[in-house]
Symmetry: C2
Subunit: 295 residues, 2 copies
């Protein structure tokens, strides 16, 4: 909260002594969630991006929502295709984008074809376990959480929203749907108008600040205009390719858990010493599914 530092620190240090009186907040719910509320993220769903200076960004992939694009991303990582490429675009309040600046690097063979049909998950004849979100949404008839991911839905399909930190697949003009070689992460207000117009394939779950604090590009659409401004990508690997000791390990909160229900309710109804007026609602992109480093 944007309180003065002194007060914020005082509140923190006073917490143990005042436990009985401390209001329950989204953070305290997450901290108190039992082990059963958490699910380990498989190593082949974690993409480890190492950029200049050894800074590590970890992306959780969403194969359940974008299977073809994720298959391609895994193939590109296994081929070490991104090694030596770069971050080429940083547009304020929009996206950080990376890939091959030359646009000439040959792709590995065997990538899956993709199409506009891959932007959504058809829900006819499927049983999706949806934890509903109760707040209205400007972009979809309904929203909720499925398997640790926020989703927007209509009667026919579910799709991942373009929230802060979410990763999508750059493409050329429609009907091109992108291979997965050109990726971007959202660094501002959720550009939800891109939903269903682009494949969302995952989200940054660690190291986001390394991307969001990069200098903005001065060219059209935030592209860097000189080679020396581009940020080198040293390597991109699936965690499952790394030695076990080097693998990042994360867990995501089960959206069907009681802890998540408490978290969501409190996200929509902050009321404590600082919050005097509860909102009574929360935007889908403002209630991120909790993720933690595996204990």
């Amino acid at each position: 909260m944007p309180a003065f530092r002194l007060l914020a620190l005082a509140a923190l240090s006073a917490m143990p002594a005042l436990a009985a009186d401390t209001p329950t907040t989204p953070s305290t719910v997450v901290a108190a969630a039992p082990a059963a509320a958490w699910r380990a993220i498989p190593a082949d769903e974690l993409l480890v991006v190492t950029i200049e200076g050894g800074r590590r960004v970890v992306i959780q992939l969403a194969p359940g929502f974008a299977p073809r694009h994720v298959a391609n991303i895994r193939a590109l990582a296994k081929a070490h295709w991104w090694d030596g490429t770069s971050i080429n675009r940083v547009q304020d309040n929009y996206v950080v984008q990376w890939g091959d600046a030359t646009e000439k690097k040959p792709l590995p063979s065997g990538l899956s074809p993709t199409s506009e049909a891959d932007y959504v998950l058809p829900i006819a004849n499927r049983r999706l376990a949806v934890t509903p979100a109760s707040s209205p949404d400007a972009y979809a008839p309904s929203t909720g959480y499925v398997g640790g991911w926020p989703v927007a839905m209509d009667g026919e399909a579910a799709w991942l929203p373009h929230c802060y930190g979410y990763v999508g697949v750059g493409r050329n003009m429609a009907p091109d749907a992108g291979t997965g070689a050109e990726l971007y992460a959202v660094i501002g207000q959720a550009p939800r108008q891109l939903d269903r117009n682009i494949a969302v394939v995952g989200r940054v779950i660690d190291g986001m600040a390394y991307l969001s604090s990069l200098p903005r590009g001065s060219g059209e659409l935030g592209f860097y205009t000189a080679q020396e401004h581009r940020v080198p990508i040293l390597s991109v690997r699936l965690a499952s390719e790394l030695p076990v000791s080097e693998r990042p390990r994360f867990e995501v909160m089960d959206a069907a858990s009681a802890s998540f229900a408490d978290y969501l309710r409190l996200r929509a109804n902050r009321k404590d010493d600082f919050y005097i007026r509860a909102a009574g609602g929360v935007d889908l992109c403002n209630a991120p599914v909790p993720i933690r480093a595996a204990p």
Copy 2:
């Protein structure tokens, strides 16, 4: 849009030749808006913040919504109170905050008292010219635009939302409502839960990237932990205090204009060579009122 650079540039350069076939977009509507659709922003509503390196950030104040806090901010600027203070906190996907890191600098005399009543604009017995927004909102019964500002509303009051780039007044625990000496700007997904819990006093209209790309602080709540990490503020002035030749001059689109109606409709219904599926709605914080440098 997150298209490849080559295609994006090709589309731009082809525009003149293809004018008849070029889809109308929010950008083209803004570019074509007549002079009558624009309103000059008064010089005493522009706060010019100069930070280390001579980087200039311009904030538009909202005296119509937060008169007491804005009166204080004007008094602080005229007293040169912020000169020599610093940016002390950068929390990713949340806020950049500045003020007196020592929390001991004496305030100028004569500041207005503020209270929680100042967080909203009561609308009983007032005639507000509201351009309604048509998309549902998770945080308020209705939304719209008043005098060049987005507003959220219930039956009793209107208030400025915490959108990207919006500036609020840091405060201690309630019922303290802050003087205006400690300010922050939003650098991520709109933290609308802060609406009606804090005074929103304006928005960054130029130089936002100088704030949003700052290194994130490693301390609690994103505070910088060492003096050398803090970003010095060289000066803060109202534009009206500056020599005429040095004043920034900006214009804001009239929310009651036909151009704004077109812009808002297109923001909610992108459909062109790139957008294959129109959203049919747009979040209040994703349709910022257009602002331009005065021609």
